[in-house]
């Protein structure tokens, strides 16, 4: 079943066409990689899917229903989005992670937080750290855990390994793969890293100048590149 469907989506901002005629489908439990030159509109596309902005033209469907017909808050809890610029709120990491529970009116579960943090190679002492006491890569992983704790069905990841070394990138990739295998979470991730695309993506969407330049299986993408 297709969990997300974009139908001829266009996005215009201040008279500039940022996305144009973008159509694709994403199956449940898929891992889709989006790539393309800087400024081509990748982040803008994810913002639309998360309903941080509405498309100017075209429609986006989630589970067969137009996303505009959902309660935006409930939709965003199902379609999580880890932004390109990780933003850690003032306060400790613990307080940041608590937010993911209070937003759903749940009691914070510290054991669960620690378990997720462990999966992305963050030790328990990070709970007391503040944002200015962490590196860019550490902040990115905290932001990732914070989004995961909301228990989304789809997770949009915007270059979240951009600031990570190889070892931590691999840890994160394995964790992402494991999430889709065990919880059937659908992943759409943006990357400039062609090797990451090869390792992680089942399907690839390549965006150029706000339009889809390629879409298909990863296999097809790489064989077309080799020619």
């Amino acid at each position: 079943m297709n969990i997300i469907e974009c139908d001829k989506v266009a996005f215009v901002k201040n008279g500039n066409t940022i996305l144009q005629n973008v159509s694709f489908v994403v199956g449940e439990g898929d891992i889709v990689g989006i790539t393309g030159p800087s400024g081509s509109g990748k982040s803008s596309l994810l913002r639309l899917v998360n309903l941080l902005q509405s498309p100017t033209k075209g429609n986006i469907f989630y589970k067969g229903k137009n996303i505009l017909d959902y309660n935006p808050m409930l939709l965003r809890r199902e379609i999580g989005y880890v932004l390109q610029k990780p933003y850690i709120f003032a306060g400790t990491v613990y307080e940041n992670l608590v937010y993911s529970y209070t937003v759903r009116n749940l009691q914070p579960d510290k054991a669960e937080m620690l378990a997720f943090m462990d999966k992305v190679n963050l030790t328990p002492d990070f709970l007391d750290k503040k944002r200015n006491e962490m590196s860019g890569g550490e902040q990115q992983r905290v932001a990732f855990v914070r989004s995961l704790l909301v228990k989304p069905e789809v997770l949009l990841l915007d270059e979240i390994t951009a600031a990570l070394d190889e070892a931590n990138t691999e840890i994160l990739e394995n964790f992402i793969r494991q999430q889709t295998e065990t919880k059937n979470i659908t992943i759409i991730f943006i990357t400039h890293n062609i090797e990451q695309l090869r390792r992680l993506a089942q399907n690839v969407i390549c965006i150029k100048d706000g339009q889809i330049d390629f879409q298909g299986t990863a296999q097809k993408y790489f064989s077309s590149r080799e020619q």
Partner: protein
């Protein structure tokens, strides 16, 4: 103080005009017009107040208070250009704060609803709420610009606009209240408030003047808080659309 002596005090703005002229501050015109306007406005108000006090009519008193609130609304709303319905929000918030605080004082019989008491006290309360709302709007708009990322991240996690904006809202209420709280803390040490000074100069015993001052101080604190709270939780909405998205600023 004789009228002649009062006229002579115009020496002081004259000094300001001379300095402005010499230093090319370009304020001469404003000072001349401003001082003349102040004299005319206060004289007219003096006459009107004299008349209204003599009428002692509840409806006219209420009408005067409404006009006061309306004028304050226009001034506060000017600072809230980015806020939709800034006028409506300001009017209701200032009026609400006035009704609650004035109502409480009348209820405990601290003052009576006579023009002589209600009008000057309301003037101070409304004036302070007006300044507080101006600060609040400016700060709220600035925060939504500066802290856009924070609000969007919270929205992404599924927060309602009100939750996503809560930190900004609280901060702007705090900033709007800061001058009131500070002046309460330093009252009598740094400044003898205008009202108390006025009463004492006019011959009221200091201990009575102080009683009134304390009451007004508390009343201002209460009303600034009520107005700020009401306005901010109303005004934040203008930064979001019906899909819980931030508008571009």
């Amino acid at each position: 103080m004789s009228n002649w002596a009062l006229a002579l005090t115009y020496i002081l703005p004259t000094i300001a005009i001379i300095i402005s002229y010499r230093e090319r501050l370009g304020l001469e015109r404003d000072i001349i017009i401003g001082s003349i306007r102040a004299v005319i406005q206060l004289s007219i108000i003096g006459l009107i107040l004299k008349f209204i006090f003599s009428l002692d009519n509840v409806f006219i008193t209420s009408l005067i208070l409404l006009i006061m609130v309306y004028n304050a609304t226009l001034v506060a709303a000017k600072r809230g250009e980015k806020i939709v319905h800034a006028k409506r929000i300001s009017f209701v918030s200032i009026l609400l704060s006035l009704i609650i605080t004035l109502g409480a004082l009348i209820l405990v019989k601290a003052i009576s609803y006579t023009p002589g008491e209600a009008i000057p006290i309301s003037g101070m309360v409304v004036g302070n709420s007006m300044i507080a709302l101006g600060v609040l709007y400016k700060n709220l708009a600035d925060s939504f610009f500066d802290r856009r990322d924070e609000v969007e991240v919270k929205l992404c996690l599924g927060a309602k606009p009100r939750e996503a904006a809560r930190g900004l809202i609280r901060n702007s209420i705090k900033l709007a209240m800061a001058p009131t709280v500070d002046s309460m803390k330093t009252m009598g040490i740094v400044q003898l408030p205008g009202m108390m000074t006025g009463l004492i100069l006019a011959g009221t015993a200091p201990e009575i003047a102080i009683k009134y001052q304390i009451m007004v101080m508390f009343m201002i604190t209460g009303s600034v808080t009520i107005a700020g709270f009401s306005a901010s939780y109303w005004a934040y909405r203008s930064f979001f659309n019906d899909k819980a998205q931030l508008y571009d600023i």
